[in-house]
């Protein structure tokens, strides 16, 4: 074959979610420079963090650029419209960096009715799920001595609705493990005042806080909590404190905040493309850009590993059915761990479309120079990933 295989890649490169895509260029250049990468052409589109735009560029990639396969990353706001479009267009798509529930359930017609949920034919996803983050968070909390009273801030968006879902979210698991959850309801993003939540948490004497707010909202919440004298022992927060800048924005109030860790330079994985270790990849990024490593780096890299692996196993890259079958058959040891659509750890309805990657828990520790370091403090679900310390109370 003389023509190169065409990959479409969509991610939020501008707009409020742009931080997720900081490493895109670095990863893609690395991919194209690799041996396997030389067979590919990657057409990159920016969703501008806007779901309308994400769907539009997906269509453009499919129709005008006639891509063979779509890759899409970062938050349900981008992955879902792109995956929906590909599914309708019958183009294979691999997505990542969104917990699988908002990805899978969020694309169902009626998310409230599990009976109506249907698997996808062309849409595949690898990441962890809420059950992982719940188990990681509770494992971290179990390291501490608390009253097991948890306050939750879940926004009314893809992530928040999934985390707070009474069937698949936090509430049933916490209940089962003997935690008492105070969930005041889904607030809108960019809320300026959290005193209602803080009052409710104080009233419930919550010693733990969890949630999945966007960064500005978490800053508002955390600052107000301190001002109003609410000082939990643990705060395990998804999304908002993913990036070091967001934690730095909290000043010294970010110390010992905990979060889920999906990838770090200490993860014992390496690239199937280049053989690089996680530490090599992170170091390469820092060297090329002068920026601190972030978690999406590993997953965006893995997305391209997937592309190379899948396309290496097909006869005709232009045949969507064959490509989809090849994706489904993937058994890849990647930069983010093993990716296989074998249904392991998943309910039957999602087994065909989702592959789970390992998740551990970490804590941000304030360094002497004022910067923050993410230390893995819990690996009970994935002992192969080494810890760097023990869970500490926020003092």
């Amino acid at each position: 074959r003389d023509a190169k295989i065409r990959l479409g890649y969509v991610s939020p490169q501008s707009g409020p979610l742009a931080a997720f895509s900081d490493a895109d260029r670095f990863i893609i250049e690395g991919f194209l420079a690799s041996d396997a990468g030389s067979n590919f052409e990657v057409i990159v589109k920016d969703s501008q963090s806007n779901p309308n735009r994400a769907a539009e560029v997906a269509k453009e990639l499919i129709i005008d650029d006639e891509i063979d396969m779509m890759l899409v990353a970062s938050t349900p706001e981008t992955t879902n419209p792109v995956a929906t479009t590909c599914e309708a267009e019958e183009i294979p798509v691999i997505s990542t960096v969104a917990p699988w529930q908002p990805y899978f359930i969020g694309q169902q017609g009626n998310p409230g009715d599990p009976g109506s949920w249907r698997p996808f034919d062309f849409s595949f996803h690898f990441f962890w799920g809420l059950e992982d983050v719940i188990s990681t968070f509770t494992a971290m909390w179990n390291q501490l001595d608390t009253n097991k009273s948890v306050g939750a801030i879940f926004p009314n968006d893809g992530d928040g609705n999934a985390w707070g879902d009474p069937n698949v979210g936090f509430p049933p698991v916490l209940d089962a493990q003997g935690y008492k959850l105070t969930d005041t309801g889904r607030y809108q993003n960019l809320t300026d005042d959290f005193s209602a939540q803080i009052n409710a948490f104080k009233a419930a004497n919550a010693e733990i806080v969890t949630g999945v707010p966007i960064p500005p909202d978490f800053t508002t919440f955390w600052t107000q909590a301190k001002q109003q004298g609410f000082t939990p022992k643990a705060a395990s927060i998804g999304k908002a404190i993913l990036f070091p800048q967001a934690v730095e924005a909290l000043g010294d109030q970010g110390h010992n905040l905990s979060s889920e860790v999906w990838w770090s330079p200490n993860h014992p994985f390496s690239s199937s493309l280049t053989g690089q270790s996680a530490a090599d990849l992170a170091a390469g990024y820092s060297q090329a850009t002068g920026k601190q490593w972030t978690q999406p780096i590993g997953f965006v890299h893995a997305l391209f590993e997937m592309a190379a692996s899948v396309m290496g196993r097909v006869e005709d890259s232009r045949d969507p059915d064959e490509v989809a079958a090849a994706i489904a058959a993937t058994q890849l040891d990647s930069m983010v761990g093993r990716i296989a659509f074998d249904g392991k750890g998943l309910p039957p309805f999602a087994a065909a479309n989702v592959a789970k990657t390992p998740l551990v828990g970490g804590q941000w520790r304030l360094q002497d120079d004022g910067s923050y370091d993410l230390v893995v403090v819990d690996n009970s679900d994935h002992p192969e990933i080494p810890t760097g310390g023990k869970m500490e109370e926020i003092s």
Partner: protein
């Protein structure tokens, strides 16, 4: 007790909204100019302060003093060379120009500062609080509220005690007749926008100290600011403060029932006030 706390927190939040709105109120009141870029100008002010803080290593409050004259000149020039050319009975040209300005500004900031969310360096005051009986009030919100009141007192002094203030009001009433009195409406408008941008800078300081900001965060707050101005009554600065407080309190009360209604409650309060008083709480006698 929780209810009292809820209302007080709402009032303090209202101070923030009033601060966002005060500059808008000035411009809207004097020129009937609907400035859709107001929120983005606040964000720009926050970046300016951040830049001064990081480059010169000074405190944000000191940076504010440097940023204010810069922003004044910017506002002056903006009005004089751009916005003045769009004033008239038709509200569309200013609407489109300020919308254009809004997206241009957002994306210029994005190019320069990237999408990463930023914050002015927090200090001891950020999380400090004072205890009032069982209620704990943040020093920063109190400071914000006090600044809003001060800004409004200051603007009122300017408006009702100085020659410039007289000229503002006269030009606002009737620019043509004002020009017959030797007033240059174009310059008066430019000065008004300049002053509005000084207030914008103060609002920017608190925006940046309070929480994270990024280039896209402006428009979300713009609507509250407009609501505060409109329910306060065109041209009434105290009305703007009252408007901000109404929205703030409605939000916290709504949230106390359920956070799902928090923002909705603010908007509904706005609609209710306008339903009862279509010209706002403290309308001018004329217009």
């Amino acid at each position: 007790m929780i209810w009292i706390d809820t209302i007080i927190q709402g009032i303090l939040l209202g101070g923030l909204y009033a601060l966002f709105a005060a500059g808008l109120s000035l411009v809207f009141g004097i020129m009937r100019l609907v400035n859709l870029a107001h929120g983005d100008l606040i964000v720009m002010g926050a970046y300016l302060i951040l830049l001064l803080v990081t480059l010169l290593g000074i405190s944000p409050f000191l940076a504010l003093l440097i940023a204010m004259p810069v922003m004044f000149l910017l506002g002056w020039a903006l009005q004089k060379f751009l916005l003045n050319r769009t004033l008239g009975d038709d509200i569309l040209p200013p609407l489109l120009i300020t919308f254009g300005l809004s997206i241009a500004l957002q994306n210029a900031l994005l190019e320069v500062f990237s999408a990463d969310s930023q914050r002015l360096p927090p200090n001891a005051l950020t999380t400090a609080s004072v205890q009032m009986g069982p209620i704990s009030l943040g020093v920063m919100p109190l400071l914000t509220f006090a600044s809003a009141v001060l800004v409004i007192v200051g603007l009122n002094q300017l408006f009702y005690r100085t020659e410039l203030g007289r000229a503002f009001r006269a030009t606002s009433d009737d620019p043509t007749t004002a020009s017959l009195m030797g007033i240059k409406p174009a310059n008066i408008f430019a000065t008004a926008t300049g002053i509005a941008l000084i207030i914008v800078t103060i609002a920017a300081l608190y925006l940046g100290l309070r929480a994270n900001f990024d280039p896209n965060i402006g428009p979300a707050r713009l609507i509250y600011a407009f609501e505060a101005v409109i329910i306060g009554g065109l041209g009434s600065l105290w009305g703007t403060l009252a408007g901000g407080i109404i929205i703030g309190v409605a939000q916290t009360l709504g949230a106390a029932i359920t956070p799902e209604w928090q923002i909705l409650a603010g908007h509904v309060a706005f609609l209710l006030v306008l339903l009862i008083k279509p010209r706002g709480l403290f309308p001018r006698a004329h217009d």
